[in-house]
Symmetry: D2
């Protein structure tokens, strides 16, 4: 989703808390901005410009675009006397905001050798200095600053999935990180029943930051259902592959089968021939039966569910279950950059490890209204042709996720850490 749109939060702040908030926000700002740069530390300058397909962006572009966000939506209109770094950056690093103006063609981002790494870093420093100043002067901008920080966190996730994708084309299989530590085997899937009924879905207004697409909160009628206790593992998915999963038309949606035929798909992304290894940010690594399966697209998730005699949950079913648990583990903060091994505890891994495909199309909630201005393009205009994913992944920051969070990607996309949680109708 973050490759396309995300939403503006609309929270307003009580006056009395201003001073404290601005200090907290400034330090949050500093922490989150530095984390983007930390993620790039293992990358050499040659890798900072890689872009293997139009869907992904070069790491250096991510560093520049998130900076552009603060300069464009905050510093330029709100900080008196602020001078933009370069007049053309507005064009070069605009992702998709038609309200701001034309955009440099997305497929050519890898051609932006200039501004080079050093210049982008200096730009970041210029913007950060000015932003800290602005945050202290203008507590009324907290909502928009917070949106910018959530935006940056989304691009941190993309930065990891994008560089993984781009590096995967190199037969030398470069490694940036550590392999999966040893762990225990996992038991069979179990299903936990939930009773449904008329339930409220969506973010309750005024509580904390959320994107606009998470509201308004509204009632939905749910029939009784059951949810798998954990996501599908690599071992389970290999059984599907070995059972001819990619050769049996009857298991696939029509568009999924067309995708297989037209692209000549033989198996999962990043799995290497023989299906013993997969490409990770730690280079080529052995598949582990208990590791949570990632990098499936909606077609694959749906076909697996059909093969298993189950189905995917709707986003409302997922949210109902998730509203009873808390984000705990499996986030980018652990530095692993890949999903962990599956646990046998009830409703495990709802948050973290992999985004879970739901059976829900990404559509507006009843009464949804996007924010006004160019920032209103963040989420609403993408409400077509995409499916909702929930729960965050091993590339998500722990403090970035919540039960009402709606991520979205096209059904054919599989370069995200996206996995499968099964459900069944009771």
């Amino acid at each position: 989703m973050q490759s396309h749109g995300h939403g503006t939060g609309g929270r307003t702040l009580p006056d009395t808390a201003r001073q404290d908030v601005s200090h907290t926000l400034a330090s949050e700002y500093w922490r989150i901005r530095r984390f983007s740069e930390q993620l790039c530390e293992p990358l050499c300058p040659e890798e900072m410009g890689l872009q293997a397909c139009p869907d992904v962006s070069p790491p250096r572009w991510h560093l520049a675009h998130t900076t552009w966000f603060f300069e464009t939506f905050l510093l330029k209109p709100e900080l008196p006397g602020y001078r933009v770094r370069h007049p053309r950056y507005e064009y070069l690093f605009n992702s998709y905001y038609n309200g701001i103006g034309e955009q440099f063609p997305r497929p050519q981002r890898h051609l932006l050798s200039r501004p080079d790494g050093e210049e982008v870093q200096q730009w970041r420093q210029q913007v950060d200095t000015a932003m800290v100043q602005l945050i202290e002067q203008r507590p009324d901008l907290t909502a928009l600053v917070t949106l910018g920080l959530n935006h940056e966190q989304q691009h941190q996730e993309l930065l990891l999935t994008d560089i993984k994708y781009s590096l995967s084309f190199n037969p030398l299989a470069p490694s940036l990180g550590q392999p999966l530590p040893p762990g225990r085997p996992v038991g069979n899937l179990t299903f936990q029943p939930l009773s449904g009924g008329l339930v409220d879905i969506g973010n309750p207004e005024g509580s904390h930051f959320a994107f606009d697409n998470e509201g308004p909160r509204h009632p939905v009628w749910l029939a009784p259902f059951a949810l798998a206790n954990r996501p599908v593992t690599q071992g389970e998915y290999r059984a599907f592959v070995d059972d001819g999963g990619y050769q049996r038309a009857e298991l696939w949606l029509s568009d999924g089968w067309a995708w297989i035929q037209q692209q000549g798909i033989k198996g999962p992304l990043y799995w290497h021939s023989g299906h013993r290894d997969h490409f990770t940010l730690a280079g080529l690594q052995p598949l582990h039966d208990s590791q949570i399966m990632a990098h499936v697209n909606y077609y694959e998730a749906d076909a697996y569910a059909r093969w298993a005699g189950k189905r995917l949950p709707t986003e409302q079913e997922w949210e109902l279950a998730a509203s009873q648990t808390q984000p705990a583990r499996g986030f980018v903060d652990n530095g692993l950059y890949q999903p962990g091994r599956a646990l046998d505890t009830p409703l495990a891994h709802l948050f973290g490890d992999v985004w879970e495909w739901t059976a829900s199309a990404y559509l507006p909630y009843p009464g949804f209204r996007p924010a006004s201005g160019a920032v209103g393009e963040y989420n609403g205009k993408f409400m077509c042709n995409q499916m909702v994913l929930r729960g965050g992944s091993c590339a998500t920051s722990r403090d970035h996720i919540r039960a009402s969070y709606r991520n979205f990607f096209y059904p054919h996309h599989r370069w995200q850490f996206s996995g499968i949680r099964l459900a069944e109708t009771l």
Copy 2:
């Protein structure tokens, strides 16, 4: 939708009514089969093979494919001693049933000059004779025969929209029918409030024929809303065009704007430069302010609604309103082959004239299960990437439509008689 999938009905018949039913069914069979041929009467042999893009099929192919359906799913397995017309027809006229086998490449259907028109007509007669025999012998096959007849009616609609599309490429603007008769001006749109609440949606099982995708019937919570009294007219849509509708990114979904940019779209399909005329099955004809607007795709319908400050209804909202009215006018039976002029009566034209785009993605209802066997590919496998349309059009048979009927097309498709009904949240 009919270009991709449609659903198997599951009705079973009480024993006592067998004799009467088979006679009724046989005459229904005869009537519907003949209607396909009547629709082709104005076409010369040169036109029977036209296919302007892979989405459309030649009229002769439609005549053959609907015949293939009866031969493949009924005569071959059920009528002892029946000999198929030609062993290769199974391959040539299979649309998308992987359970039957490989399919002749869709984009090449226009290359099937053989079997020629005469041979296809003889095949139809052979199949019809055998089918009448089978219908009389086997009342237990009523549901499947009825499915075949509904399938044929869907292809009658496609036949008209397909030949219209193919003929539109000819600068000579061939005419097959009659222009729109004169009529009265139409008043402004009004909106009728509906209270919503917990309502049942979907076809009540056992009542009459319905496709599998219309069930199971299930409760849905709806907030109060209002529905426009009629579809948008050509005059109203022209105001959108004249207001720069196709040049303003802020009115469009992101994928819709990409469609405009990549295809160089300047205005509605079939409208000619100057926007005074449009291509119809009666050749080039003047636009009429009061004629119901057709041939918009989902992106256009959605953009129009945003421009008008309204939204599209969900399919549940539409069905709730439609369950209170009956199909009355504006069907293929009137021989006009284009939408009529809009009426000012309350909730007019819910059925007929144009299929109405809804804001709902085409997804399975809770508890949906496709039929078993190859005929199960009819509807279920298309439940991804498409949007639901409701109500039937000027190319639909009056006895083919009902409130629970779910049609579906991709958001970029606009060669169907598809129009716009506005809604608003109360």
Copy 3:
């Protein structure tokens, strides 16, 4: 070649011969025009509109376009009071003459169901009546009329190769003609030495009709060489295929190998799996070892020659040899519509059976100048990226060919009756 360009002849006529000439020309006109229609007699109306790819045109389009040529270049400017059949035909049936105006998009010619077959035939009659009148009145137009007739003969050849290509997509393998009659085996290839030296190449001006691209006649220095006594046969070509010809990169030009890889080419056009049958205008027929090989493109001809340790002749070498023989057999006049069996006589089949690829790029002869006006687009503008073929084929009229005749096609084209004559440097 005729699909792209052909040349204006420049012959002028002595005054004294006018009366006789116009009678002769009128009867020639009548004979050649009727022959186009005879070639279409076996075709049903469904087949008259087939177009399997943009390179080929529907038979009905050929009938209309050749008629357009006479109406556009002769009747409209030269016959007082002549009224064009329909104002849009100028646009619909203009192939590539920018000097006349815009052209209907070539890939959509199959969509021109109107004018239908009957209307095209009536147009032909109207034009023919007027042309006979014009021919009698205006002997000064003889050169242009003769060009029009040669143009029609070129389209007769294309009509056959185009319908063969379009029919080949039909798994029913329709048949329009007769299979190859029995014949005798053929002996091994032999090579006939020619001494070369400074030789004159090109059509001697003023002798008889020739296209502009055949002149001016000019001296060329040729080193001694030898020419195979006959074209390569199907049996010989099968040995190349069986020797892994299509899998060995070292045999192919770089662009040829790219063609094989990108198109997934496994063998010759029209050969069916197992390489026992090939598709012909008489339907599926067995391959015969002694039948002359056709439907190879330049890449295949070049690769075969390399595999055989020989090379293709230049067009000058070919013309030097051909200037010593006369067109005799193997033309469309024999009604076979496929190449015959190879003979063992010296320099056999230089004319007829198959066009022979030469190693010469299609470029202007020194001092070449195209005719003035739109008709000057006939040949000159195609002098890039194409290769020269010589000698005519089984689809060429016997009275249409001569030693200086230059046909041309792109190196990847193989739907013509194009074959291989080997040569070697002495």
Copy 4:
């Protein structure tokens, strides 16, 4: 041309000169290898990986590929005990030698962030050390070493044209060099007559290094002609543009006009709107009337000649004229990296400044035979679909060019320093 193929020289060396030669060759080797690296000095690491289209390669790839050439064709087979740097480099840096094995996909070369710049430089040093050793031990390898050095020089030229192309996509218009120094206006074109006759063309065997495609030397008959005294300038070409050159179909070859239509071409590559500036390796610079025009493709060169009432020379005409002059100025050695201002002297600039398109297709000379082994793929397999250019450019090394040198590119290519020399038939 060097992007596709180049030729093996066949010189053999008299025994007595071995010692001197090996020293000379080693120092030549050293000088030429260092020059590649000098050309990259102004480039930052971000720019070393740029690849704006499949036809161009990243600078770092050029540095690696030329190293691969010496390792693959010399060190690996000839130097006992030599260990290749990395087993996968053979695959990664093979350009098109099927005889060596599979090649990494050309369009993805920009994704090879590893080996990074430092590793490539260390590989170069490893190879250079070993090569100097091999040169001293094995004077019999002089021809192949010389071929490798000429190969490296060709890639030096490509490196400049490729990085210019890739940088041109950056709206910041990066600059690597110096603008054109001031100069004097140029007079009108004049034409120098040459008498032609039977002349010898091609490289005389045994004289000095030449690619295989430059021979064998052979007689050709040339009619009298005249050659322009200098190439066309930017001022002259602007007159063509201003005269509607890109809008007039009658000036263009059919394939050229199709190129204009399909690509939406409005003017020359690198000219900016208003046609006052052009992009150069010194950034955006004003056009100068007297500067030699570069970056036209064959279609543009041919159209310009037609507009000017002239034609392009054949490669034989060009060589006849060039054999009477010597390479003097306008080479990469001057460090300008763009064509200079035109001089008025007779037959000026035949060498240097711009490669001159000829009217000759790139075909083998009579009796041509490629070298044996994989190195035989250097030139011969590209002899189809390309046109010959002569004389070298501002990116060519002075000691790399000669009168018989045949460069070749596809007619649509215009990212080389390719220009126009007019000719006329007398």
